[in-house]
């Protein structure tokens, strides 16, 4: 990629630059917030005390990362409450992988889901390490440093679950269900804006390249555990990396969502609405304001 110019401070961006940065930030922030929201459903329900603590802590990490990204969206004046509690659910841009509900007791699902998600997150964060937008670039290292053990935790559990037939079948069922949704992690919010994100150097790898990298990592690994990707409703064009994949009806990134998302959003904003809140409780103003 040709050398790109460093982008200006938030207040000095052109409207087009600003839109591109915001799309990139909503991709990151919404994924992290919603995946954490789903993970917390396992609190006091995960199969062992250790997995309960580990998974709760991973959820806390992801909430922290969501906040680092929402912080940057506040550069243009929005409050945290407006970005999270008051934003219309039809405006969120997370991948539909993270909004799907879990079946009760189906531990294979969160384990596999977190593996698929965390490998993708790692690839996406690495493509931001040399971002032309300094405020994104400066936060990537901190987040990457807190991510390694997420993948380790997921892989560790996946390997154990795939050792025996019965539990491996559960992982396979989760894989068949989740794989098409996992592909939406690399779907564009809007083709034209995503091209601009690449052209401006906000991200140094296009979505298709990252998806290819992700497939090259997850497919052989899952197959090595005795799982089959062929049954996973993998699009026919699997071998032709650059073709469009058949994505589920609800992609998320383009603001199309499943009904489950609307239920989830209703749930997590319930207290905020019931208490008649108009702002999120903050003890002090954001020190990052300049």
């Amino acid at each position: 990629m040709a050398a790109v110019e460093e982008l200006s401070e938030p207040g000095e961006l052109t409207a087009e630059e600003r839109e591109a940065v915001q799309h990139q930030l909503f991709r990151l922030a919404d994924d992290e917030f919603v995946v954490a929201e789903r993970y917390t459903e396992w609190q006091v329900k995960a199969p062992t005390l250790e997995s309960d603590l580990a998974f709760s802590n991973i959820a806390q990490d992801e909430l922290g990362h969501a906040r680092l990204w929402y912080d940057l969206l506040q550069d243009w004046g929005a409050e945290e409450s407006e970005l999270i509690w008051e934003r219309d659910p039809s405006e969120w841009r997370h991948s539909t992988l993270v909004e799907l509900p879990f079946d009760e007791g189906d531990w294979a699902d969160p384990v596999l889901r977190s593996y698929l998600y965390d490998v993708a997150e790692d690839i996406q964060l690495r493509a931001l390490q040399d971002s032309s937008y300094p405020r994104i670039r400066d936060r990537v290292g901190k987040i990457l440093g807190e991510e390694d053990y997420h993948r380790e935790h997921a892989a560790n559990w996946l390997e154990r679950l795939c050792e025996e037939d019965e539990s491996r079948e559960r992982v396979q069922a989760a894989l068949d269900r989740l794989f098409p949704y996992a592909l939406t992690l690399f779907a564009p919010t809007d083709e034209e804006v995503e091209d601009r994100i690449d052209d401006l150097g906000i991200r140094t790898e296009p979505l298709v390249t990252m998806r290819e990298e992700w497939l090259d990592e997850v497919v052989p690994y899952l197959e090595s555990l005795g799982l089959s990707i062929d049954d996973a409703e993998l699009p026919e064009q699997y071998d032709v990396h650059h073709n469009q994949f058949d994505l589920p009806d609800a992609v998320g990134r383009d603001q199309s969502h499943t009904d489950d998302w609307y239920d989830l959003q209703e749930d997590f904003t319930h207290s905020y609405r019931e208490l008649g809140r108009t702002s999120a409780e903050r003890i002090m103003k954001d020190p990052d304001d300049e």
Binding site: G64, G141, G145, E152, I283, P287
Partner: protein
């Protein structure tokens, strides 16, 4: 420090070391203790500071981490302090980081800092700026901080 993992789990864990196939009697080397890298510019400790800036540093030294008896300066959270006369009066700007991005004590700690710094005589306003780069790691703990953590019972 606000995360159980901060003290025990390093920034990166070598996946090769995960398999516990060592001979019996040897501890499982699940976790590799990586200390992290030292930086030239941070943390700042206030060495040589004078006047109001000195007073701001002394105030920051008195503030402890919400979970451990260690000053936030010795923990390496402060990256810089400057005191400037502006149209709004005298502003103390503090660049700081946190050990953990998901730190639940973020608001609590910063509220305490804001109040304490603004109470320093001669300071009209405190401006706390949270930065995430370079990333905090164990190398940023000062010698005094290491001693405090050892006394608290942490191996460092």
């Amino acid at each position: 420090m606000s995360n159980a993992y901060d003290t025990d789990i390093p920034d990166s864990v070598d996946p090769v070391d995960d398999d516990c196939v060592e001979p019996a009697g040897e501890a499982c080397a699940y976790t590799e203790y990586v200390e992290g890298e030292a930086y030239d510019d941070v943390p700042a400790t206030g060495e040589g500071a004078e006047g109001i800036e000195r007073d701001v540093w002394d105030t920051l030294y008195e503030i402890e981490d919400p979970e451990m008896p260690i000053s936030i300066v010795d923990l390496g959270l402060i990256y810089g302090v400057s005191v400037d006369d502006t149209d709004d009066g005298t502003v103390a700007t503090v660049d700081m980081t946190l050990t953990y991005s998901g730190c639940p004590a973020r608001d609590m700690l910063q509220d305490q800092m804001q109040e304490a710094v603004e109470a320093v005589e001669g300071v009209d306003r405190a401006d706390l700026r949270l930065v995430w780069s370079p990333e905090w790691n164990l190398e940023l703990v000062t010698e005094q901080g290491e001693q405090d953590l050892r006394e608290f019972g942490l191996s460092i």
